[in-house]
Symmetry: C2
Subunit: 463 residues, 2 copies
């Protein structure tokens, strides 16, 4: 007996094989002819396999006719050409074993459509729905593409630390990590005695692996991180998570142009793979979630990304005579409305804006010869705005020290980061990409909590 | 001008090409003939490329002759056949650009060998050494193999949460996650008022993604997690980390035999890939770290894993008349000495021990018909003992509830885990593997802190 996946037995090549498939009932329909149609899904693909359960099966009356959505079964049978629409094959069952029932009185996922909000309360069951099954497969596909892209180009995957003693990057509010009994915090001279905590000092959850990734890039050339990062801001929005996965490549001897080239080919690769490797899931998102899901992706894949400096971008907006809610002047950061104007209206293509004002960007970005701007870049795409942020890093020790002083950062906390510039410093660049933003962009899902298996947000840590 | 990696230009096919390579000086040797040999490494492979720097280069006296270990350079030149030993090619330089100096007075990584302990204090520089360069490449190779293995077999990669409100699994001490000001913990009726904390309840760093992975396996079939996990035990040993990466596959419709088959083919695949894809790095580990590194791996790849029950294992040990420090009786757990006896002395092969006493194993393992044992399995390998632990999971609701009561667990905290058994329950299995244990096994490194980029342990959170 061949065990087969639903994805396999849906293919016409499978016709004639005697197989065993295992999965969950999506629906049952009884024919007047004394047999039943079962739709079975096993997660291997979007589609179900239709099973014909003959009335002669020994457990037909006692079990098969009791099957409801959510029950788990093994089905043995022969794969046949299907006369039905929308499917090439079906299985004529010779035996059906029921593993688990799903009492329709208690099982929450009945035929009725549930809101995404409701489904978040059932995060343990929502992967059984069409939407979240598709999401799991597309997210897996994107993740696989990311690894393949970097591995094919000789990047090393580096695990940067999750727990960190550096609170100093200023990227955002951080979660504290401790083994203290919160009921009895040890004090010394009225303040917390961290020498008694696990790490002998205050410890936090990382907001970025970049500085650590630079260590490896400055030793081994091309590396990337891909791990969870955290933000403790109290933001209860559809665009923020407290825990999310970030990809951060970092490349020695890359200048900002190399960085832009990499970011462009990287995004195109991910999107192309989603379109070609998950066609059924993407079709579903297109039909049910966002009717521009596929065309938007395809356009990004086919576009040349526009590249303009921040200063030019401001001139473009000025010439457009468009009224913005927040008018922009040189020296302030682009808001979402400006980003979307550039990519959706002005250029109708992905746009890379580079060379931002020095004053609005972090200390580690390389200062240009004009002294007013730094070698930052943001990649903007339709619908979401910024999807990638990156920069060439400041490799000159003295300039870096000046920038740290400018931003009131204590060089002591960065001794090792400065050492990278003291010993064999090299031009280098990198960028960061939030996985969930990408999955949101690909699927068209409105709320970021619906593109990660178990979202974390203020008040939300169930499951 | 072709930019090329050192890995590329070391290949004879590259002879005749005019290229630019970029990397760091490992050493310089001046010839009496008025030219110098530079050894340059860029991390793309274990070996260096030898560069011949002619005295006619315009910056020969001013710069080239000042180069020391750690300086960063770009070298343009032609790849030639090398007359030297141990290398097929070398580069005759036509131009050398120095990007960064590394003052030998201050640069810690001089020719002198440093202890691994010392290098841990310089975690920002140790990737520049032979050992830690090799480690980064082998760790990357293992990680890539893991993803490829599961992806090729249709598993979905699932990101399980890092921050969790379940403290209930009993797998080990947990770190607390909070945004409280530790100086002023809000109290209500004398105890901590968690309703004012970020997640409205106590929150922790995960010790395992298994229970969450079961959710996805019970919806979509075959899945795996691969992410950081945490232990807050105060263990200052060479075998424990506070933060480490774990791989946890979970498969619906797999019984314990399927689980053993998967674990065996999984380990063999990883080890085979390390041997074939990192031959130079493995050769280095063999020569410098553990002279059985390669043969041990090769033996595992070539072995059929022995499979015996816990009860049989005890009989084997009994018959052996071997004296153990901790004599074992039925019902107590195997110690490292027993595990190593079985795999190293008795069977001289990897051993899978299964069907452990119910009383020493977690509540979620499936109870056998004998009612005394559960469907647990441990995979034991020479030198390290247990490398994989797994089980078939208890899919029967009533048995699971009995087991939870036995272990004094409150079912309320597990409502969603129990729901998986209420609705469409299926037989399923999975296992867990610590990435660092695997890297330690492959490389032969004695201390687990040397196989992860930035180790975390009591008192250790620098970098």
């Amino acid at each position: 007996m061949d065990i087969a996946s639903v994805a396999e037995v849906r293919r016409p090549e499978c016709i004639g094989r005697h197989v065993c498939i295992r999965g969950w009932i999506r629906s049952r329909r009884d024919s007047k002819g004394g047999f039943s149609f079962l739709e079975v899904n096993d997660g291997s693909c979007f589609g179900n396999i239709q099973v014909i359960a003959d009335g002669q099966l020994p457990n037909y009356e006692s079990e098969v006719k009791q099957l409801t959505a959510g029950c788990s079964v093994s089905v043995e049978g022969t794969v046949k050409e299907s006369g039905g629409k929308g499917q090439a094959t079906e299985i004529a069952a010779t035996a059906i074993v029921v593993h688990g029932w799903a009492d329709p009185e208690g099982y929450p996922l009945q035929k009725k459509q549930h809101s995404f909000e409701k489904l978040r309360e059932w995060a343990h069951l929502r992967p059984r729905t069409n939407t979240f099954g598709a999401m799991a497969r597309v997210r897996n596909c994107i993740t696989r593409s990311i690894h393949q892209f970097f591995q094919e180009q000789g990047f090393l995957y580096v695990h940067t630390p999750i727990i960190t003693a550096s609170d100093c990057e200023g990227a955002g509010a951080m979660f504290k990590v401790t083994t203290f009994d919160l009921d009895r915090i040890p004090k010394q001279a009225d303040s917390v005695d961290y020498s008694q905590d696990f790490f002998d000092r205050p410890a936090y959850l990382t907001v970025s692996g970049q500085l650590n990734a630079e260590i490896f890039a400055c030793a081994l050339g091309k590396v990337y991180t891909f791990g969870p990062t955290f933000r403790a801001e109290n933001s209860n929005t559809s665009r923020h998570l407290s825990e999310f996965w970030m990809i951060e490549p970092e490349m020695a001897f890359f200048d900002l142009n190399d960085n832009m080239d990499l970011a462009e080919s990287f995004l195109k690769r991910i999107f192309r793979d989603a379109l070609t490797q998950c066609p059924d899931d993407m079709q579903f998102f297109q039909e049910r979630i966002d009717d521009t899901a596929i065309s938007t992706l395809q356009k990004v894949v086919d576009s040349d990304f526009v590249r303009i400096s921040y200063t030019e971008a401001l001139e473009v907006m000025d010439r457009s005579r468009r009224t913005f809610e927040f008018p922009i002047t040189w020296g302030s950061d682009l808001q979402s409305e400006h980003e979307r104007f550039l990519t959706e209206e002005e250029f109708k293509a992905p746009v890379i804006v580079y060379d931002y004002p020095r004053s609005i960007k972090p200390f580690y970005m390389r200062v240009n010869d004009d002294e007013r701007t730094v070698r930052a870049m943001d990649v903007l795409v339709p619908k979401v705005g910024e999807i990638i942020g990156g920069s060439q890093r400041e490799e000159r020790l003295e300039v870096l020290e000046t920038r740290m002083a400018e931003q009131h950062l204590d060089p002591k906390g960065y001794w090792w980061y400065l050492d990278l510039r003291r010993f064999g410093t090299v031009p280098h660049s990198g960028f960061g990409l939030g996985l969930e933003r990408v999955v949101q962009f690909v699927s068209g899902m409105a709320n970021i909590r619906d593109v990660i298996p178990f979202p974390r947000a203020p008040g939300l840590a169930e499951f």
